[in-house]
Amino acid sequence: MSDSFPSWIARVRNDPLGAAGYNRLIERAKWVERLFLSEHLSTNVGGGIGEHNAAEVPREVGGVYVAAGPSYAFEDFRHARNVTRPVIGEFALELDPNVYTNAAAMTVQVQNTSENGSNVPCLTTFSITDTTEILFFQRLLTSSLGGGNVWAAEDESFVAAIHGEPLVVGAPGLTGLQKTRGTAISELSYDYNGQVQFDSDLRSKYLLDHDSTGKHINREVAQTWANIESDSGGGAVTVLDTSARNPLTATWLGIGEVRLTNTTPWVLGAQPFITTDYARSNGGAVSDIQVACCPKPTITTTTIDVFTYKYDVGTATWDRVDTDFYVVVYAGV
């Protein structure tokens, strides 16, 4: 690899370290710290020194689970403080204002995960009130498939990934003091021992969201993704492309129903986001209107079921449809 990482000549027995050698150790450590801090935090945000700090990496990913009752709970969000239900079909997610500093630089990925999604299409939309609140609205098709286009507000489960503006990264760590010719290295906390502390602290920050092999192990970085193709003629699906780090396989279960299987189990509470592509049956065209649902009860540690629906503009009705789609799955490991 070609980069500006300062080189190092390995010392051997009785080889003097010298001022230049010691300074080079500091330079190498600072170089790596700059690499790390380019998209990670040095300061503490909601309990996570070393947390990711790029707009492209969601600041938090989680969901609201509506169980029978109706009762509801929010799950897995890293910073969000609470969720309330002002009216049927609307949830207000209370955010930590220390985490989001600019509402105009926020965005959201959202996916309905209602159990009703296995029978009829369901929808979730969002509205960013300010840096302290996001509203989510749920709608459910109350007419049957093939029987109309009537929608109503309904309390439904959903998952969301919330992106925010990067925060001030925070102060870099303190290294040992640089040396000049003739100055000695001491054991003091601002000298060699400070350098050892710096080395350890940086590693600790790194290990918050990464493992020792370099892989991300936080929920805010998706575990896997795939592009699923519905085969012409129906009855089967093909995985056109999938994650190299954690491949998905797919099985056709019925019209508009595909089971995705993960090779490496994830932690429950996985958050899938689905985008439909071309419909391959029922006269599919680029202009098709489709909805994808992913009922939470079908999400296990290794599988996710995806249900896809198509709107018929001529008859104003909905029906199941085999369609290509993309999916990305966020989850804990």
Binding site: D3, S38, F126, Q197
Partner: protein, 177 residues
């Protein structure tokens, strides 16, 4: 090589060559593991400086298909003379702008990705039924191969039917450089 947590020393404690080599190796190990899922292209060594703006693998930047290459929020607003327009706040290299191509129709050019797709989420106040935006990526391996970008159509329920309608939406672009 692997990271080894070092001991602090006490006064007059010797600092051996293996210890200082390990301190050096620790930095190198951190660099190695960071490069697994983060960029390694060093802009300071690039001979074509402007090209760094379009590089997904710039030093320290997340470089993984599982992480959006670009995210943004397309905000609809009314200009003078009641003209609808779209403002776009975004981050990342992939999507430089959003073009409104008609009522409920948007074109998003995509830069520097060989294959790509996106999650788009409708934004509204709950007063009407908004479908999830219909996203169709166009790239060389697809039927409409054009390597142009994304086409997004947005629909709202009106008079019992779903019609094209303008709305704000969030977008997360995924893909492979």
């Amino acid at each position: 090589m692997s990271f080894v947590k070092l001991y602090q020393v006490i006064v007059d404690g010797p600092l051996g060559y293996q210890t200082v080599n390990q301190l050096s190796d620790n930095a190198e190990e951190m660099r190695t593991v960071m490069y697994v899922e983060h960029g390694s292209h060093d802009p300071s060594l690039s001979t074509v400086k402007g090209s760094n703006a379009f590089n997904y693998s710039v030093l320290g930047r997340h470089d993984l298909d599982e992480i959006p290459r670009s995210v943004g929020f397309a905000l609809l607003f009314q200009q003078t003379l009641n003209t609808t327009n779209v403002a776009f706040s975004w981050s990342g290299v992939g999507i430089p702008s959003v073009w409104r191509a008609g009522v409920g129709g948007y074109l998003l050019p995509v830069l520097g990705l060989s294959t790509f797709w996106a999650v788009a989420s409708a934004s509204g106040d709950g007063s009407s039924v908004l479908l999830a935006p219909q996203v169709r990526p166009f790239h060389a391996t697809k039927a409409n191969g054009n390597n142009a970008g994304l086409r997004i159509n947005t629909y709202s329920l009106a008079s019992g039917n779903f019609d094209l309608a303008d709305m704000s939406f969030g977008i997360a672009l995924y893909g492979t450089p």
